[in-house]
Every structure is written in C-alpha cells, then in structure tokens.
Symmetry: C2
Subunit: 483 residues, 2 copies
C-alpha cells in the first residue's frame, strides 16, 4: 500500500513536472510578449527616446574610431579611452544638459589639470620624501573644499558636475605625476580626447533630431495650464450633475480618470521645471527661442500653475465628498458657478495656446473678464438662494465650492498677467496685425510682484471684495481688438 502511494506520489511529481515543462514555452512567450509591450509603450510615450538611444550609439561608435584607425590611435594612444568615457557620461537627453555637462567637464579638466601640474611641481621641490606628503595633503584639502562647495545651492544647480570632474582630474594629475614622467604629454592627450568626446556629443546631440530643454519647458508649462483648464471646463458639468448618492457611480469615476485627474501631475511639477530651466540656460538660440530667452518667467508661471492646482485639489475634495448641498440650492448657483469655472478654463486654454504659438495672449482677456462678471452674478444669485433656503447648514459645502472658485478666478487673473509679462519679455508676435501700436510705458501696469526664489513663494490673494467686478483691462495692447 505504502509503496503504491509513494509511486503514486512520484507519478504525481513527475506529472506536475511534465506539466510545468510543457507550460514553460507558453510562460516564456507571455513574458516576452509582456516585455515587448512595455518596450513599445515606453517608446510610444515619447518617440524621441528611441532616437536618443540611437544617437548615443552613434556618438559612441564615432569616438571608438580613435581605436580602429591607426593614425588616430598612434596620436592619442590609450588616452582614447577618455573620449569614450566622456561620451558615455556627458551625453544627456536634452541639448542643454549635454552642453552644460560638456562645458563643465572641459573647463574643470583644464583648471584642475593646471592646478594639478602646479601641485606636482611644488611637491617635487620638497624632495623624494616630502613629495607624497605634500601631494596627499593637497589632494585631501582640495577634495574636501570642493566637496563642501557642492552644498551651495547655486553651485549645485549649475556646476555640480564640473566640481566632481575638478576633484577627479586634480587627484589623477597630481597623483599620477608622482609615477608618470611624461606628465605634460599625458595631460595634453587627455584634454584633447576629452574635447573630442565632448565635441562629438554636442554635435550629434544638436545635428540629429535635437531635444531642446527650453522647448520642453515651454511646452510643459503650456500643457500644465491646459490640464488645469480641462478640469475647470469639466468641473461645472461634473459637480452639478451629481446627486449626493452618485459617489461611487462607476461611469463618473471612469470619466473622472480621464480629464478630472490630469491636473494632479501639476502638483509635483516643480523639480522637473526647475531642472529644465537650468538646462535651457546652457542652450544657444534655436527655433523661436533666442539665447537669453526669459526662462525664469516660465518658472514663475509654473509656480502660479501649482497654486491653482492646490486650489483645485481642495475643490476636487468637494466633488468627491458625500455631503453636498441640496440639489435645489445647487441649481440656483449652477449657472454662475459653471460660468465662472468655464470662463477660467477658456482663459487658461487660450493662454496655453498663446504660449504654444508664441503670440500675445490678447484673446484670454475677455474670458477673464467674463469669469469676474460671473463671480459678481453669483453674488446676486447667492443672495436670493440664501434668503429662500431654510436649512442654512446644508448649503455650507456649496459655500466652500464658491469660495474656492472665486480664489481660482483670482489665480487665473495672476496667471494671465504673468503670461502677458512673458509675451512682452520674449517679444511674442502680435496675434493680429490690426492691433494698435505698442505702448511700452503702459505695458507694465499689469506686472505682478516677482515671486521670491524660495520654495513655494506664497501668492497672497488679497481681495478687497472677492465678488466685485473689476472692469479694468489687464493689457492695454489688446484694447483695440476687443473693446
């Protein structure tokens, strides 16, 4: 019996093993298909990634020619290695980052090489015993001081890579000098191969489908604005179509995922925007952007975008809350609220497309005015609604929505001002040739106070009366067209 059962078990194990083996090709196929799908997705999300990968391959193959051609190899010798090393570490996705790293590397190598040679000369005056002590001490001091300098925000931002290369080159030159006799020749070979490597990177990066950090920043700021606009345009329909029991309605949840959730990526856009702006400052003029394009102004608009996104985050909480004001009350404020949010959305969409097309955002002023007028209509409708309503506690959630919308209107106004300022700083083209001649002395009336460089400068929304109509026109340049 026992033997039988053991046989049975064995057979079971074999059967399972056999099944497993038989299933293996299928599993393997599923895995490969899954991987391929992932690869295609990453490539489709941004086809420039594929091109970038090929560009790295091309640059690397180009510099490795140094090894394959005898005349080149005879000239540089093993120092050709430094060209390969430079390409691998310097080649970045955007032209700005590549240029920044390349320039940092070149200058740092030159400086540190010269200093290293100096240290080597100084040390060799101290005799055979003193030499390693002087060299070691200078390496220690320089490495410690340079590392410390990397903690300064300004150096960290722009020259971090340069400092690393500075430490590296100084240590290598001063220390190798102790053993290598032809140190000048070595330094010369290394510097020239690094320059070759850097030059190859920059050339390939610019000539083959360049990815400009500045353009990316420009588009990102406009896209973020559009995401906020999409939420605002959809908000009215979403909020007022819901009954309090609608909370878990799968249709609305799915709908929400598409356009009501896009703004969430704006909340954490600060780091990306700042690094793009940093890279953009290294870039030469390209397309419609000249060398000293006002990249900082984009950061300011980005900060205002985020302020708006924080308000929307609070507003989104109201949509999803299960306690809502009674439908009859909501109906009374529906038109004014929907108008406010719709007009803000329109204004932001227009501002975003003005940025994208690099033209004066005159068309954005009427919707901003409309939003303000809607806010003032709201005052009237709220008054009647409150007077008619008995359960005042129940309308509180709606009051929050109204307050947040009013703040969003003011935030939209600030964004419009900031975009107007960008348009002036960057000399965006007029959207209509019939527009009145420019009046630069008036243009800065709408300028907002520059935000301090701190984290999250607070946009204090000081409103004398939030629902009052302000019929002043933000930018007189656009007067002739719409008024």
């Amino acid at each position: 019996m026992e033997i039988g059962s053991s046989n049975h078990e064995k057979a079971g194990v074999f059967a399972r093993g056999w099944w497993w083996l038989k299933a293996l090709p299928v599993k393997f196929k599923t895995m490969i298909v899954g991987l391929l799908e992932k690869i295609i997705k990453v490539g489709k999300d941004d086809p420039r990634r594929v091109i970038h990968s090929l560009k790295v391959g091309i640059a690397l193959t180009l510099v490795s020619l140094i090894y394959y051609f005898r005349p080149l190899y005879d000239g540089f010798g093993a120092a050709g290695m430094w060209a390969i090393l430079t390409v691998v570490v310097v080649f970045e996705f955007t032209v700005g980052a590549t240029l920044g790293k390349g320039i940092n590397r070149g200058i740092a190598t030159l400086l540190a090489g010269a200093l290293g040679l100096g240290a080597h000369q100084l040390a060799s005056l101290c005799g055979h015993k003193g030499e390693p002590i002087i060299l070691g001490l200078s390496t220690f001091l320089l490495a410690a001081a340079s590392t410390f300098s990397r903690f300064f925000p300004k150096i960290k931002q722009r020259y971090d890579y340069g400092v690393v290369i500075f430490i590296l080159t100084f240590s290598l030159v001063s220390v190798s000098g102790y053993r290598v006799d032809k140190i000048i020749e070595m330094a010369h070979q290394r510097l020239s191969t690094i320059i070759i490597g850097g030059f190859t990177c920059v050339t390939v990066s610019i000539l083959i489908c360049p990815v400009w950090a500045g353009e990316d920043l420009h588009n990102m700021v406009a896209q973020n604005m559009e995401k906020i606009a999409s939420f605002l345009e959809g908000f009215g329909g979403e909020y007022f179509s819901r009954s309090p029991e609608d909370g878990d309605n799968p249709v609305t949840s799915k709908n929400q995922n598409t356009f009501l959730e896009a703004y969430k990526s704006v909340l954490n856009s600060k780091a990306t925007e700042e690094s793009l702006a940093n890279f953009a400052r290294w870039e030469p003029g390209h397309g419609h952007f000249r060398f000293r394009h006002p990249w900082k102004q984009y950061l300011q608009i980005g900060t205002l975008n985020r302020q708006c996104a924080y308000l929307i985050e609070a507003l989104n909480g109201c949509i999803n809350s299960k306690i809502q004001a009674p439908p009859e009350f909501r109906k009374k404020i529906q038109k004014a609220c929907t108008d406010m949010s719709l007009e803000c959305g329109k204004a932001l969409k227009e501002l975003a497309s003005a940025i994208t097309e690099m033209r004066q955002p005159c068309l954005a002023d009427p919707p901003v005015e409309n939003a303000k007028n809607a806010a003032s209509d709201l005052k009237a409708s709220l008054k009647t609604a409150i007077l008619e309503n008995s359960d005042l506690l129940a309308i509180m959630p709606a009051a929050t929505v109204v307050s947040l919308l009013v703040e969003i209107v003011h935030c939209t106004e600030k964004i419009a001002e900031s975009v107007h300022e960008l348009a002036n700083l960057a000399h965006f083209k007029k959207s209509d040739p019939t527009v009145a001649p420019e009046k630069p002395q008036l243009l800065h009336r709408g300028t907002i106070k520059p935000l301090s460089g701190d984290e999250n400068p607070q946009v204090v929304i000081t409103i004398p009366d939030p629902l009052a109509i302000n019929t002043e026109i933000a930018n007189p340049e656009c007067v002739n067209k719409h008024y």
Copy 2:
C-alpha cells in the same frame, strides 16, 4: 580754456581711479567676509556636510596611497587610476546612495567586462578586417539598447548608474581589446581597483559618522508632520485675533514667517522623500532600523502629509484674505474651530514624536477623538450662529474655513491610521508596559486602502456626515490606556 578743462577731466579720472583703488581693500574685505558668512551658514545648517567633505578627502587620500607605495603600484600600475575615479564618483552623502552606486558599479563592471571579452573573442574570429566592424556594431547595439532601458521607471530608479557603467565598461573593454594584448590582465586590474575604490568608499562612509538615508527619511517625515502641526496649533490664534483691517500688519506678517510658513516646504517634499526611500533600501540594518524596514510606508505617510499641506495652503489663503466674516460671528465659532485645529495639531505632534521615538502612537488617539468631538460641537454652535445672523452672505468666508478644517480633521485621522500601520509593520515599542497584550487579528481594522503608486494618489475623503462624531477607536491596542 579747452586744455584746462581737459586737464581738469584728467585729474578727475585720476582722482576717481585713486578712490577706486583705495576702496578696493575694503570691497575685497566685504566680499571675503560675505563669503565666509555664507560658508559658515551652509556648514551650520547641517554640520554633517563638513564631516562628509572631510570623509571624501580621507577616502581619496587613502586610495591614492596605491600610487605612493611601490609594492601596490607595481601590482596595479596605472589601473590605480580607477580606484581614484571610483571614489570620486561613487562617494555620496548618504550610506545608501554610496552603497547603491558602489554595488551598481561593481556588478555592472563585472557583467560588462565579461560581455566585452566575449565580444572581443567573437570579433577576433572574423579576421582582421571584420573585427572592427563586429566590435563597432556590437558597441552601437548595446549602447542603444542600454540607453533605452534607462527610460524604464524601475531601472531609472535603482539601476541608472549601473547601466551607465555597463555601457562604459563594455565599450572600453571591447574597443581596447582591439589594441591591448594583455586584455585579461587589464580587466582583472581594473576590476580589482574598482573594488578597492568602492570598498574604501563604503567603509569610510559607514565607519566615520555615517549618514543613513533611512534615518533621514524617518526624521523628514516626522519633521514635516510637525511643521503641519505647528501651523494647526497656531492657526486658531492667528485667524481669530485678526480683524479684517489687519491684513498688512507687520507684526502678524513677521510672526507668520516663523511658524505659519514652515508647512510650505512640505508641498514639494515628494522628490526628496522618494530618493531617500530608494537609497534607504540599499542600507543594511542600523540603529533601530533593520534591513527590511517598511520604507514604503513612510512614502504613504508623506503623501498624506502633502494632502494635508494642500488643504492648509487653501486655509492659509483664507487667513490672508481681506474679506472675513464679521467678528461677532467669528467669535461664535472661535472655540470649536480653535479646538479642532489645536487638537489636530496636538495629534500630529504626538504622531511625529511617536515616529521619532519609534513607539506606538497611542497618545495620539485622544486628540483625534477630541478634534472629532470639536467638529460635532461646531455643528451646534454653527446652527445657533447662523440662526442669529442676518447677513448670511458675510459669513461665507468662515464657512470655507470650517469646511477646510473638517477635511483636515479627516486627513489627520488618515495620517494617524497610517502611522499606526507603520508602528505595527516596523514593530515600534509599546509606549507603556501596562498596555494589554497585542491583538494582531484586530490591528488591521484601521488599515487604510494602500495608495496606488501613481503620482499623487487621490485621497478621496468620503464622509457620511462630516460633523458626525465617530467614537470608534482607531487602534484597539491603545484601549486599555486611555479609555
């Protein structure tokens, strides 16, 4: 006359030049003093920076000994350079980052070295003419494929540096192989010097005043919670002490800068927290943290912290708004609002100190309950206040404050639940030995749904009745102590 005036002008230029020269030492001194002050500030802000700089100097001096001692130099030759290079690029501020980079570098070098040797062998079979073609093609394909793999978020997060080193080593080995005869010896020398460099970094990083990324993450999450708590504790006093005309009062503005602005750094904490969590996963057990400490749970708490900070950002807008509800109305809701925010602040302070001291956060439950009770008191006081008040439109701003505070109470509750979960996952010590025995089957009742890994998972605050009292106790483990 003309000559006289020209002389006069010349004398003026000389005089100005003389003044400038005389002022030079003073200017120079001011500059130096300014620089010194900056250096002292950067060092004082985090004294570990000074220690880190010295550590880099020490590690670099240690590996450069390879050059100074003849027996070592004879063994490694010029490959000693790779030890220096490794130290300069691998040594990072935290142990986790250093370990991660070191391990990445070691494994990538080994793998790519082996592959490079293989490619070299394969190419040498193709004859003298075919060799560079095969080598160039394999370099191109591998570089392109590896660069593309860096766009996968998971690889980017943990193995980015490894992939860069993989490309570098493969290119160097396969290409050098074309010229260097003793390629195996070279590969061996390089690998061993890289291991020496990496080992030196890790040893110095761990032995001399180690900076643990995990500990930093732990402290950062607790500090962010404290910053939010400080705002909430101060909010009541700040909001209710202000009259509508107070807006630009310099005393309040200054006051605000100290404790009411601290929370702003929480808004953009996502990137730092995520990179610290990434580094922390490389770290071995240290202090109170074991190897597989639940670092992901900190990210979840961090997300909730940010949710709370977004609400506070909206609340802060209400403080600074010039339109406020009439003082007599505000007086009526003052106690309940102040209590709500004060108790939330207390709860968060207690949760933060529980995290810092790594103990069960039982003491945080009573203030959370108190905050909920205060919310319910608010319902009563609001009812009377609204019934008595004639100008209903005027009280709208106060209604917004109330709604936001209610949402903050709910957010605080979620944070408390998340910290309880962390305390259980990480086996924090009981704060009181008299506490009842653990009941693990009940502990997960308070568990919140894990947030998805996306950017800003939305915390949908679904509240059946926002002002209702929920007297259930979040964590039964703490029952015996406080109820």
